[in-house]
């Protein structure tokens, strides 16, 4: 069996594992959409601020469910790998000829498929509610690719935590930390409209701000090269670093 086939089998297992548990599918899709719907009504008045880049808060807020959905994907990836450690599945796998990278590739691929489904639903709901994408169809495709890359990056972080700690509870414990990164960013207002200096400084150093801005760029500004480059660059950097770290954690798990 080639690495691709082995990865495919692991991806199939990961997707089935997720789809068979409604608690792992419904909240990651429904909760971000609910929060977005509430914020669109609650913060619609923000569009009256001078310099706000959109006429509708929906155009600005649609990026939020993508990032929050990726966050849930990371928790799912981490919890599922931690469960594999806890139940001894990884140890049994080590006795087979399967390459260790197949487990990680399969798990991450599975998470990305679920993230793609979620992204399609977010966009469908957005368009039904009147979302306007300045960059057109091409912009939507770029958004989807960036959303997948962000999901991969966050899932790899979750996988690293899950493999490193081998505890689902520890993965859940990291969740609030991720939430801090999410909220202390330009998630609710553009950075130039954040009034408090200290908050704007944190948001500027917080890489999550650039993920939001990359996702928003095709909607609000069309083809904004700088925002897209930063979004893709930061997502790719997190994905590469976290995948290497997860791979090392897996190697350690298989040796001990």
């Amino acid at each position: 069996m080639s690495l691709v086939e082995q990865g495919g089998e692991m991806a199939r297992r990961s997707i089935l594992q997720t789809l068979r548990q409604p608690a792992m599918v419904i909240p990651p899709i429904l909760f971000p959409l609910t929060l977005m719907a509430i914020n669109v009504g609650g913060l619609d008045a923000a569009t009256m601020l001078p310099g706000f880049p959109a006429d509708s808060y929906l155009d600005f807020a649609i990026a939020f469910p993508f990032i929050q959905g990726s966050l849930f994907a990371s928790i799912n990836a981490g919890t599922s790998l931690a469960r594999d450690v806890e139940t001894g599945f990884i140890k049994r796998l080590a006795l087979t000829p399967m390459q260790r990278s197949a487990l990680l590739i399969g798990n991450l691929a599975g998470v990305m498929v679920v993230a793609l489904i979620a992204a399609a639903i977010y966009l469908a709901v957005g368009f039904a509610a009147g979302l306007h994408v300045e960059a057109g169809v091409g912009g939507v495709l770029v958004m989807l690719v960036l959303a997948m890359l962000i999901a991969l990056a966050f899932a790899a972080v979750g996988a690293f935590v899950g493999l490193q700690t081998g505890s689902g509870e520890a993965v859940q414990g990291v969740f609030p930390l991720f939430f801090v990164f999410l909220f202390l960013s330009s998630s609710s207002l553009p950075r130039n409209l954040i009034e408090q200096d200290w908050f704007r400084t944190i948001a500027t150093y917080n890489p999550v701000s650039y993920l939001f801005e990359g996702l928003r760029a095709p909607i609000l500004f069309g083809w904004d090269g700088e925002a897209l480059a930063l979004g893709f660059g930061i997502a790719a950097a997190i994905a590469v670093i976290a995948t290497i770290a997860a791979s090392r954690a897996l190697r350690t798990r298989l040796v001990h």
Partner: protein, 256 residues
């Protein structure tokens, strides 16, 4: 009566000690309200400059009232988690066998929730005042705000206790938490009611939490308060959910 107070104080003492001695229970309850306060009051303060936003005490005080009432409500919900856990590990059943007055159990848990909310509320007040929150209401107004927070805490405690005693499993946690979360956020959280947009405005107009949050904001800013309305609603809610919780207790008794 003596038997009621003995049971209530013993249950309240045990729950409070468990909460104070367990960092996993203590930290989220202390940190989350502070985090929400930071994220909302810090990150969204520019919303206070939207045309039509006219709140004399400033955006920090405007958000403080929401976060205080939210923390009070979640103090009650977290007590529901504790009750469910006690049922799962068998402690609650032994307690019901031993207690000479079972209503004391319910009120003991509610008292523990109140102590928890008072600790969080004190911390929130201290942080908000230290970071420059303007309070233009007088001492009587502030006392009125504290009474309002206590009634919100009591209502949420009874709601969560009713669920916990009917389902007797921690898996009912989302059922305790999500409705409270949705009711809280479908109110004027970020802006006054008049500035809310779309369907959120329509829902917020009939949401019973809206007069409470608006009344709380009037109290902190020393504005005109319709005391009959806000305390009438909050007392009626506390009584209604008190009945709901007592019926939950009876359901647990029947289940054995």
């Amino acid at each position: 009566m003596r038997r009621f107070t003995d049971v209530a104080s013993a249950v309240a003492w045990r729950s409070t000690r468990r909460f104070l001695q367990n960092p996993q229970l203590l930290l989220p309850i202390l940190i989350f309200p502070l985090f929400f306060f930071t994220a909302f009051a810090g990150g969204l303060s520019n919303i206070g400059n939207v045309p039509g936003f006219d709140f004399p005490s400033g955006y920090t005080a405007f958000q403080f009232v929401f976060v205080l009432l939210q923390a009070s409500a979640f103090g009650g919900v977290f007590t529901g988690f504790g009750i469910a856990t006690d049922f799962e590990n068998g402690f609650a059943r032994r307690l019901m066998l031993a207690a000479p007055n079972r209503l004391g159990i319910l009120f003991g848990y509610a008292l523990a929730a109140l102590i928890r909310a008072l600790i969080v509320g004190t911390l929130l007040f201290a942080v908000a005042l230290a970071t420059g929150m303007k309070v233009t209401g007088d001492g009587v107004d502030l006392f009125g705000l504290i009474v309002l927070a206590v009634l919100v805490n009591l209502t949420a405690s009874f709601w969560a206790a009713g669920i916990a005693m009917r389902f007797r499993t921690i898996q009912a946690g989302p059922l305790m938490q999500m409705p409270v979360f949705i009711v809280l956020f479908l109110a004027p959280v970020y802006v006054p009611l008049a500035l809310l947009g779309g369907w959120v405005h329509a829902v917020a107009r009939v949401n019973p939490f809206t007069p409470l949050i608006e009344g709380g904001r009037d109290l902190i800013s020393g504005g005109t308060v319709d005391a009959g309305l806000i305390y009438g609603i909050s007392i009626a809610l506390a009584l209604a959910f008190g009945v709901w919780a007592i019926r939950g207790l009876r359901s647990a008794e029947r289940a054995g």
